[in-house]
Each structure stands twice: as structure tokens, then as C-alpha cells.
Symmetry: C2
Subunit: 275 residues, 2 copies
């Protein structure tokens, strides 16, 4: 039923948005490796009449560093095609005249170079990894509790992720810690925040129902995109688990084994249009 749905709507598509880790590549030693067929799949979308954007919650590097890594894996990808939480946060901070205290990974700090940071009136928290010391979390807390209206921005809300040496706590865990300490609710920047998907749509200049999001994360990729009116397709790579297909509240518009299969189906259905 749901699968029929996404195939029926392929002909009216004007754009595709791809999650990156778990769709394009698997992370691991030395930065990770491309998932079989995904380099070629990206090339095929680019050669079609579809618009293409990439959408990631990665906050342990600048977009430049991150895109360079993907290019080394063989992907045809450019910085301006990639949407990540840090630049989205910078846009929000500038729009609202906010000066952040940063609790983020050292490698993502340069993304905030253009933002005034003296006398901070908000806190931005990212996946800071080893920078999540007691002292650093306490410093962020003291900034928040000293504000009349404490404003906390979180670059994602993930619980944990997998690295080669085991599971690692993600930014959402420390977001919850500061929320409890100050009795506040953070504003999440990145997937599944509506505003984040909308900024991608705005850049493409097309309507949500004309766009297909492809991701390995059922809740943050598929569910987040659907909440904005986009189609959501889940790949059975990356963090996909079979139980995702029986999820109580989020149901993808379709499932494919990997990105290569998704692109095969999309291009086949679009070719049929012109027969």
C-alpha cells in the first residue's frame, strides 16, 4: 500500500534529498567506506532532470572537511549541496541577533567564525564528544542559568551512535541534561526539525510533495521529511533494523535494499512517463 504510493508519485518528483551516513557510506576506521553502488547512484541522479541535495546531522566537522571526505570516497558532491545543522544554526543566530556560547566539537568551531560570541545570550550544543567534560557542561549551564530567558539550541537530538570501538553518547543526551538542569526545552536544529527540512526545500525552490527524502533513520529522516509533506523512503543499510518496518507510529512510503535500488526504480518509472 505504502510502497505502491511512492512509486505512483515518482513521475511528479522534482527533487531528491539524501541522508549521508548509512545511505552513501558506512562510518568507521579512516572515515569510512562507500556503500556498494551509491557512488554510481549519485551520478545517475545528477545526470537526470531531478534536483539533488544532501542532508546530514553531522556536527564533528565543518561541511568543507566532510565533503572532502566524501569526494575522496569517489562521490560527485559539492559543499553548497550539503545541509548540516551548524550552518542552519548560524542562520538562526544571525536572524535573531543571538551571541552563542559554544559547546561543540573543536573541528566544527570554524563554522561559527562569522558569529559574534562575546557576552553570550544563548548556548549552542553539538556532538562535542570529549569536550563534554564536567567543567565544560557546567560552564554552559552557568551561561544558561544566568540568562533571564535561557535559550538552548541543540544540533540534533540523537541518543547514541556507533563507532568502530563501540557505542558513543550523542548530543541529545547532553541536551536532556541541560534541559533538566535549567527546567527548559531546547530548540533542535537539524533533522527531524521542520525548519531544517524547509531550508532545503527553500533552496530547491520546489514544493514538499515533489520531493523524496531517502534515509536509513526511520524517525529522523523518514518521519521528519513526511511531517513536512515530503515522501520518505527508508534504505535497508546503515542503522536500519527490520523492526523499523513494524514501527508503531512512523511508516515509510516505501523500503528499498539500498540507494542503488531506489535510483533504479526512480529512473525506470520516470522513463516510463515518456514512453
Amino acid at each position: 500500500m505504502a510502497e505502491k504510493d511512492w512509486k505512483d508519485r515518482i513521475k511528479s518528483l522534482k527533487g531528491v534529498v539524501l541522508d549521508m551516513c548509512g545511505v552513501l557510506y558506512d562510518s568507521g576506521e579512516g572515515g569510512g567506506v562507500a556503500i556498494e553502488g551509491s557512488v554510481e547512484a549519485v551520478k545517475r541522479i545528477k545526470a537526470s532532470d531531478l534536483q539533488l541535495r544532501f542532508c546530514t546531522n553531522e556536527t564533528q566537522a565543518t561541511r568543507e572537511q566532510f565533503v572532502a571526505k566524501l569526494q575522496r570516497m569517489g562521490f560527485d558532491i559539492a559543499v553548497q549541496e550539503v545541509f548540516s545543522p551548524a550552518p542552519a544554526a548560524v542562520a538562526i543566530l544571525k536572524e535573531r541577533g543571538l551571541r552563542p556560547h559554544l559547546l561543540v566539537h573543536d573541528d566544527v568551531v570554524p563554522e561559527f567564525d562569522s558569529v559574534e560570541k562575546t557576552n553570550p545570550n544563548c548556548v549552542v550544543i553539538g556532538d562535542a564528544a570529549d569536550n563534554f567534560s564536567y567543567k565544560n557542561l557546567n560552564d554552559a549551564f552557568q551561561v544558561l542559568i544566568g540568562l533571564e530567558k535561557p535559550a538552548l539550541f541543540s544540533l540534533g537530538r540523537g541518543r547514541y551512535y556507533k563507532e568502530t570501538d563501540g557505542l558513543k553518547l550523542d548530543v541529545g543526551v547532553y541536551m536532556k541534561a541541560l534541559e533538566y538542569a535549567c527546567d527548559i526545552e531546547a530548540e533542535v536544529v537539524g533533522k527531524p526539525a521542520k525548519m531544517f527540512f524547509q531550508s532545503v526545500l527553500l533552496d530547491m525552490g520546489i514544493e514538499p510533495q515533489q520531493v523524496l527524502m531517502i534515509g536509513d533513520d526511520l524517525v529522523n529522516d523518514v518521519g521528519g521529511a513526511q511531517a513536512c509533506g515530503m515522501l520518505g523512503l527508508q534504505v535497508r543499510t546503515g542503522k536500519y533494523r527490520p523492526s523499523d518496518e513494524r514501527h508503531p507510529t512512523v511508516k515509510a512510503n516505501g523500503y528499498v535494499d539500498n540507494l542503488a535500488e531506489a535510483v533504479d526504480i526512480i529512473l525506470k518509472y520516470r522513463a516510463m512517463e515518456y514512453m
Copy 2:
């Protein structure tokens, strides 16, 4: 109305339980200083026919170290009169045959000397302060997420406390972080947990309605004691704030300026009984 109530019930009292920090002393440089009149007030209760116990959520030292500090301030106090979360946790661990992974302050580790800790099947978290590094929190998380039924014990649920150099994050904040990471709920040991107050009552061998709890923390001292059927009196010292007297859900049975005033009233009313 509420105040009349506690004075009316003084004659039937058989025991008094005192919170420590903010009631007996104020913390600060070099361990802190006794609150005026509190050393004498403790002496006067001990000279009466009332039983006396002390009840603290302190987890940055062993009871022995903590009691020695109070004795240096002039208090007549013995280790066996003091109830703190770590020994309460040890009792629970032994009763249930649990082997803890500890994420606590170095100085409280000796409290757990008698507990088997190899091959852990639960996590105990206390106010670990600088021990709350990313690595240590991640280690505790990995123990929990590897268990079939993750069991987390938290020595208190405080958000933050005040030290001479500013506000510091308390154990509750890290409890919330691990709760979110593993999608579980922690079992709180210490105030305001019912079982903690009940262990004090059991030791005194008297009924809750015969016991008066005196504390500076409206929710954890007063509210916690009331939930067990005890009377709860708030002192206007320590972390007391005037807004406490307008709290939406917790109402003390009475308010006094300090411990000395409470003891004055208690002993006066009890003397009247025999007139």
C-alpha cells in the same frame, strides 16, 4: 493553619530528623561554618527525651569524613546517627545481589568496599563532579546498554547546588542524561525517596506520625517526609527562598527562622505538657 497544626502535634512527637547542609551549617571555603545557634540546638534535642537522627543527600565523602567535619564545627554527632544515600544503596545492592559499576566521587568509593563489583549488572551514579567526563559517562552508558534489563541507581535527583565559586551541576542532571540515552527510569536512593526515609524510621523504631523532619529544601526534605506520613518543618536558612512559602503543591506543616527557633518551640510545648 498549617503552623498551628505542627505545634499541636509537638506533644505526641517521639523523634526528630534533621537535614544537615543548610540546617546545621552553610557549606563554603574550608568545609563551611555552623549556622548560629545550631550546635546548641542539637545539644538541647539530645538532652531531651526525643530521638534524633540526621539525614543528608551528601555523596562527595564517606559518612566518616563528613561526620568528622561536623564534629570539628562543634556538633555532638556520631556516624551511626547519620543516614546518607551511599550506605542505603549498598544495602539495596546486597539485598538484590547486584554488582555495581560506580560513577561517583573518588571520596565516596570506600563506602562500596564491601560490595562485589566485577562483571557489573547495574550502574550507581552519585555527585561525581569532575569524574563526570565524556569517557566516564560513556563507560557507564555502555554497561547499561549491554544489560538485558538496564538498572540505574541515582544517589539523589538534585539539579544543581551552590559552591563558593558558583553553581555546580548535581547528580540529577547526569541521571537524566543516562535515562534518555537508554530509555529507562532510574531508581533514586536518598531524599525524597520513600524507602530512604523509611530506613530512618525503621532505625528509630517509631511511627512516621511521631516524627518531625526539619529541612531547608521544601521538596526533598519537607515534601519527601510528608509523603511518608511525617511532619515537615522548613527552616528559613540554607537554600530556603521566600517563594517556597507559596509553592503550588508542597506546603510545610510550619516555618521557623532557623533550627534554634524550632528547638525552642518544641521544648517549650513539651514542657507545657507536664505543667
